[in-house]
Symmetry: C2
Subunit: 359 residues, 2 copies
């Protein structure tokens, strides 16, 4: 029985379609008998089918932030020029996920391990079968979306003309593995998680709160919290604003992450920990990145505490022709939410330049 959770609805996230891909074999050996991807598209595919942009989603995210913050007429991701396909990652609560699947063999704690490579293969199948797209003008994604962007560029070099991994790495670092584990442990240490067999995400409120609180520390920055920058942000829920940082924590990070499904977060966390394009080249990161033929802008956020620019720069330097474009934000990794116009302007300027580049 799928669990009810209003967070994972079109009402909360914006319209999307569910596309069945049939039986899908996972890299770790599991099988999803009827894989469904939740897909939101903006704009129209042209006749040449060469104006498609793919956007894979980040940890805990959906397509929502993309249409709310990154996509729009006059923006770099302009639906009047491009056919923009945002694909929710497997296990994120909208695509096939532990708490929503009707297939008892993979429901809840039985959900199989999914890898970044699985998402990318499923997305490739989706684009080819559903839209007849064989080549992408751009793949762009943030965080775990950057992991998928890198995987696309390495795995399908002929299909990716341009790539923009934002605030994420091609090969997850040990530090990020450890960080993600603290997020997962915050959830699984809650007795109410019950080995993944809870009956409502609300039962796991304590674990979700601790998970959110670690995000508040690692996702944001000392400057963000100290500056009072958050004071001017619009509330997530009407009437639940904030005048102290404790209230911001309560009504932003705790509220938002508290709406989510624990097993979905764990599925994504496990996947994040193991993102590594070097798997495509026998463990050789330089060889894997050497395969990239896409024009690539590597775009870390300057104040990001767990995907710092230096880690992203190391990968940029291994990628033929890639350029480093550092994005400014006071909000660390959560700069991805697009709190600042300066950040959004920088993203747009770089993506516009990338999209206009000859390839």
């Amino acid at each position: 029985m799928p669990l009810e959770n209003s967070f994972y609805t079109a009402e909360m996230q914006g319209p999307y379609v569910t596309v069945p891909l049939g039986r899908f074999e996972l890299e770790e050996g599991g099988v999803i008998e009827e894989l469904e991807l939740a897909v939101a598209t903006y704009g129209e595919l042209n006749k040449a089918k060469d104006n498609a942009i793919l956007v894979p989603t980040w940890f805990s995210g959906t397509h929502a932030t993309w249409w709310q913050v990154y996509i729009g007429p006059g923006r770099a991701l302009d639906p009047e020029k491009y056919f923009i396909v945002v694909v929710n990652q497997i296990g994120n609560g909208l695509s096939t996920s532990p708490h929503t699947t009707g297939d008892a063999s993979i429901a809840m704690e039985r959900f199989p391990h999914v890898r970044i490579g699985d998402d990318v293969r499923a997305q490739e199948q989706l684009l080819r079968e559903k839209y007849g797209v064989e080549r992408l003008a751009l793949v762009v994604g943030g965080s775990m979306g950057a992991q998928q962007t890198w995987e696309w560029a390495v795995r399908f070099p002929d299909k990716v003309q341009r790539a923009a991994p934002i605030a994420g790495t091609a090969q997850n670092t040990p530090h990020d593995f450890l960080f993600t584990q603290t997020l997962m442990d915050a959830i699984t240490s809650d007795p109410a998680w019950a080995g993944g067999r809870y009956t409502s995400h609300a039962d796991v409120a304590d674990g979700l709160r601790r998970h959110a609180d670690i995000w508040a520390v690692m996702g944001l920055t000392t400057d963000f919290w100290k500056s009072g920058f958050w004071k001017d942000l619009p509330p997530v829920v009407e009437g639940l604003g904030w005048s102290t940082f404790e209230e911001f924590q309560q009504n932003f990070t705790r509220l938002l992450f508290g709406l989510m499904d624990p097993n979905a977060l764990l599925t994504m966390g496990w996947k994040w920990q193991r993102g590594d394009v070097a798997r495509n080249a026998g463990g050789d990161l330089a060889a894997a990145l050497g395969r990239v033929s896409a024009k690539t802008f590597v775009m870390p956020i300057d104040s990001d505490m767990f995907f710092p620019p230096r880690d992203c720069e190391a990968e940029q330097q291994l990628t033929p022709g890639a350029e480093l474009r550092v994005l400014p934000s006071i909000a660390g990794h959560f700069g991805l939410f697009g709190f600042e116009q300066t950040y959004l302007d920088a993203v747009d300027a770089h993506l516009r330049e990338l999209l206009e580049a000859e390839v």
Copy 2:
């Protein structure tokens, strides 16, 4: 009944003496009827009593790291020239602490809240009554030791000739408050913590492990973990080395923090969260720091994720005549452990210059 814990012994930490200070009233309203400070001294007090250096300890720390890493003949903190007094902070497991006190009214979960100002007042009393020291050549401490160093310089400006707060702030930031809370919640969310009424720290192993794992993420850095820097570090316990980062986590951070007492960590965590010299000036940080007359070197560590140089620099700029001396380390906040000779050389150079400065 005090709990047994071999971590808090002279065998593990090095020799120290226990100095009774009598009845001690705490700023939050609690009382410790017989406050005892665990004190380790190195070198001799001269006749003029003007060669004393005070070192307060950091969160989870004791005097051990100081004699092992920072103090020695030929070093800036030279026991052949100075009388160096390392005072274990209240609640750290060696000075009066929840799990060691014989006073049932303050044992375990009944231990009262202690503030940075309490430690500093107790240290002032200790120096005056026990050693007849009215003026310190230097106060130097790292992290929570830096909080105490700042508090000394603001509260007793006439008694502090020089101050060197390393990797810590005068006023705790919101981000650090939130970070410290995640450390504390990792412990208190363990059902075995039992509201502070456990019968052995080992019972709280799960909570201590999650606490250590958050430290592994925030205390160190992506570079530290990725570089393999840790490979060359000597093991904490003979025979328990490491060849993978998971083993380093197991045999370094988990092992070390797993030896400690949960209530001691919580006492220190609560104190850390509320470190704020502005309390001495009606909440006005600039006014408080304006009182400092000590020659002050503010010494953040360049890669520190929660006391970043920019936060320390903001306080340095409010302090008359203070200078910013940034220390280099790949290890973030845990650079304090002195893993790198380059770091230690920088500390020594700055402290030597400070100690030689006319005041």
